[in-house]
């Protein structure tokens, strides 16, 4: 597993989220897509959470980095 900093992981995750956003029709971008902790998040919400370093955003960054084969150091 490669090691990256949190800030690098955040950039990767945001790039992936923006790519996801582009795949969606405009009407879908603000609509709930992913349920985390039984709370609904649209892709735009997720971008906001990651950008603002909220608890959900940080957790999402850690999970996504792990899934992409990176360990945050």
């Amino acid at each position: 597993m490669s090691q990256i900093s949190f800030s690098e992981a955040k950039d990767l995750v945001l790039a992936r989220l923006r790519q996801w956003l582009q795949e969606l029709p405009e009407a879908e971008r603000g609509r709930p897509r992913k349920i985390i902790d039984f709370k609904p998040y649209s892709v735009l919400d997720l971008i906001r959470e990651v950008e603002m370093d909220t608890e959900v955003g940080k957790k999402y960054t850690y999970d996504e980095a792990k899934r992409m084969g990176y360990a945050i150091v």
């Binding site: 790519q19 709930p32 349920i35 039984f38 996504e64």
Partner: protein, 242 residues
Amino acid sequence: MTTVLFFRPNKDFAMQYASYWLGEGIPEAQRRGYRVIDMIEDACTFDRLKAVLEEEKVDVCIMGGHGNPTVFTGFEQQIVFKACQGDEVMAGTISHFLSCSVGQELLPDMVSKGAISTIGYQVDFQFMVNESFSIEQDPYAEPFKDITVTIIKKLLDGATLKQVWEAGVAKCNEWIQKLWNKTGTDWAEVIACLEHDRDGMIALGNKESYVLPPKIMRLTIPQIAGLAFIFFLVVSHKSPQV
């Protein structure tokens, strides 16, 4: 009679999915001859749950609700079990919790207070939705419903805790494999959620425990024909001769 209790608060967006998935277990329970207690919406409070569990012998509890490591909530997110208080009412039951993170502290505490066994999640439960579809037909939510219903059916069939957990994990893997070649980030996220939930699924308590399913007499067609013939003979024998 073997009794199964469903606890399904469904007032918010995400919980409506959970409530529907758990509800799919009700006909499965009825088909197997269980007596069903279905607690929904405002019935999903600690007081009501406690009253039911004290009044009746409930063998299986299928629980949905918001959660964190130390709290499980019901209707309008009112606290049902908090910081490991109140969970003693679950003593003697086998349960499934569709709730986030309760597997970290609450479920182990519940088992230490006499719950026979339980299966739940030690992570935040994640799933995907597509609002263009109804809850019942949402293709992104379908794998998560299937996993939940698989766990419920396996419990009701009298499988051991270990077998139930294995069936839940196997169903996650089956869906991951099925969706692997789908393109698009939506499906990649569905797979990510499945992996996340699978890795966070936890079974606690006696791993050989199981619920004894009710016995239902099922007759084959020749048996029914035979019984009808005997009935006919008896009735015709009793008929007054003219």
